[in-house]
Every structure is written in C-alpha cells, then in structure tokens.
Symmetry: C2
C-alpha cells in the first residue's frame, strides 16, 4: 500500500490531494486547497503555503509525493511567482523525507484522460470514475488528485518494467501493456 500526496502549486491557491494505491486499485483519502491572501506580504503567503502543506502531511501521512511541473510561459513575472510557490510545494515533502516526483501537465492529462490535451472537464469526469468518493473543492485540488493518480500509474509501470526485466522480457511489451 502506498499513500501519495499530489500537489498543484500556485501562489494564490495550492491544490492538494491524497490517494492510496494497493498496486491495483486506487482509493480517495482527502483533498483540499491552501489559499493565501493576495494582500499579504509575499514571504507571509509562502509561509501560509508551507504551514498548510505541512498540516496536510502531518494529518494524512503520505509516503510519496508528486508535484506538477510548472507551465513555463512568456510572462516572466508570473513564472517567477509560480516558481516561488512551487519551491515550497517541493520543499515540504522533501523535509519530511518523502521522494518527490515531478510530472509535466501533459503527462498528467495523458494519464488521466488518455491524451495530452484533455481539458479540465475531462479530468473531472475521469476523477469521478477513478476516485468516485473524491469531492475536490477546487480545480486546483482536482488537478492535485490527477497528479497523485499519475504518480500511482507511473510507479506501477516502473515496477512492472522491473519485473519484466527480471524475467528476461524487454520493456517494449510494457509500453503496450500500460498505454
């Protein structure tokens, strides 16, 4: 059994979602959003994200973490803001000794909806199927759950690949098996 926290970082809203995987089935544990006050000092907002995520880790005790790779765009000021929030999202699980995987938004969409261009509605629809008990309170916590699901699939794929190797089978077959 592995318990995974997925994090979708943002300075204004950081989504988080915790799921469990027994290697075959996924189950929903909890999800939520850490919101910060845009009127506060930047350092205070980052501390709020830190405290919020720390509290999630203390409460739900995940064993692995996955963070969405920030979409790097042309707006340098926005990229910087997101980078600062993302730094905290990567830091908090690392300080608790958790491995932190990173997934590009495309990889997450592809895992959850089957193609790299799935929109928010498609992600929500797949969440209802994969984690029927989930009630994400924001688009950010829905994304965070999708990231956690992506990590569960990726780590299972990596394990399968390892097993196939031990049995003298190539990885080529696996690509078909998990696609």
């Amino acid at each position: 059994m592995v318990r995974i926290v997925g994090i979708d970082p943002g300075l204004r809203r950081t989504g988080w979602g915790v799921i469990e995987s027994d290697g075959v089935r996924l189950s929903y544990v909890a999800s939520g959003t850490v919101a910060t006050d845009s009127g506060s000092q930047l350092s205070v907002r980052l501390a709020e994200i830190y405290e919020g995520l720390n509290s999630v880790l203390r409460t739900y005790q995940p064993t692995e973490a996955a963070v969405e790779q920030t979409f790097v765009n042309r707006d340098a000021a926005a990229t910087l803001k997101l980078g600062q929030a993302r730094g905290i999202a990567l830091l908090v699980p690392a300080l608790s000794g958790l491995g932190v995987a990173e997934y590009a938004p495309n990889a997450v969409k592809k895992t959850v909806t089957g193609n790299g261009h799935g929109d928010k509605a498609q992600i929500r629809a797949m969440l209802r199927i994969l984690l029927p008990r989930a009630e994400p309170d924001s688009a950010d916590s829905a994304d965070a759950l999708a990231i956690a699901i992506t990590h569960a699939h990726m780590r299972r794929a990596a394990r399968l690949q390892q097993k196939l190797k031990q049995n003298g089978l190539g990885g080529g077959r696996l690509a078909g098996a998990i696609s």
Copy 2:
C-alpha cells in the same frame, strides 16, 4: 541595535550575510554561501537551502531579513529555477517571524555604490569600506551583505522620515539628507 540577514537566493548558490546596525554605524557579523549539488533532485536541493538558511538564523539570530528581488529575464526556465530558490529564501525568515524586505538589484547597487549600474568590483570595494571586517566567501555572499546594508539604510531613512513628519517637516528634505 538591529541585526539584519541579507539573502541573495540562487538554486546553485545562495549567499547570506549578517550585519548589525545601531542606527549610525554598521558592523559585520558573518557571511557565507549555501551551495547545493546540481546532481541532486530539485526537492532535495531546495531542502538543502532551507536547512542552510535555517542554521544561519539559529546561529546568528537576526531580527530582520532582506532578500534580493530576482532579476526576471527572458529565459523562463532560469526564472522558474531562481523563483523556486527565492521562495525558500523568503520562507525561512518568515517562518521565524521576521519581517522580510525585498529590494531590486538596482536599489542595492545604488545604495552601496551610489548608482544603479555599479558592478561587482564596485560592490566589493564599498564593502571593504563599509564593513572592513567582512570576508565574503563568494560573489553571492558579497551581494547578500550589500542587500543587508541596503536594508539598514532604508529602515534608517524610513525612521528619519517618520521623525521629520512628527516634527512637522516634509519628507522632501530627507531625500537630500540620505542621498
């Protein structure tokens, strides 16, 4: 007496410098560089910056903090990296309850060298005059000391301004007095 930590954040090297100001004179306390291993996971490197700065705060117990505003450039990937490191630099003093001031690189250069385009050599030269005991171990720790000096000057200027206001004098005179 105020004890100020200046921080020049970077993913590879984060410079820090601690100074004291009694409102008139500055004195050097300590400075150094937190370096991270570029071969490590991003989350681990951010945790190294966190631990390093935390240790500086525990050891030197500053009462205020100042962080350089990141230079936002056109390289979005570099901006994102810097943003992540900068998030940690803002977070650590905020978690200790310190106010965190931010200064643009130009403001720091102008304060320390007299114009906004002072180069690294000029900053070093002024450091030798303002903090003769300082022996920064890198360009980053030299910059961090320059940021701490900038904060000492800015807070003194703000206090003077307040006093002048209380005495019914405008702020216009002050601009001349501290330039």
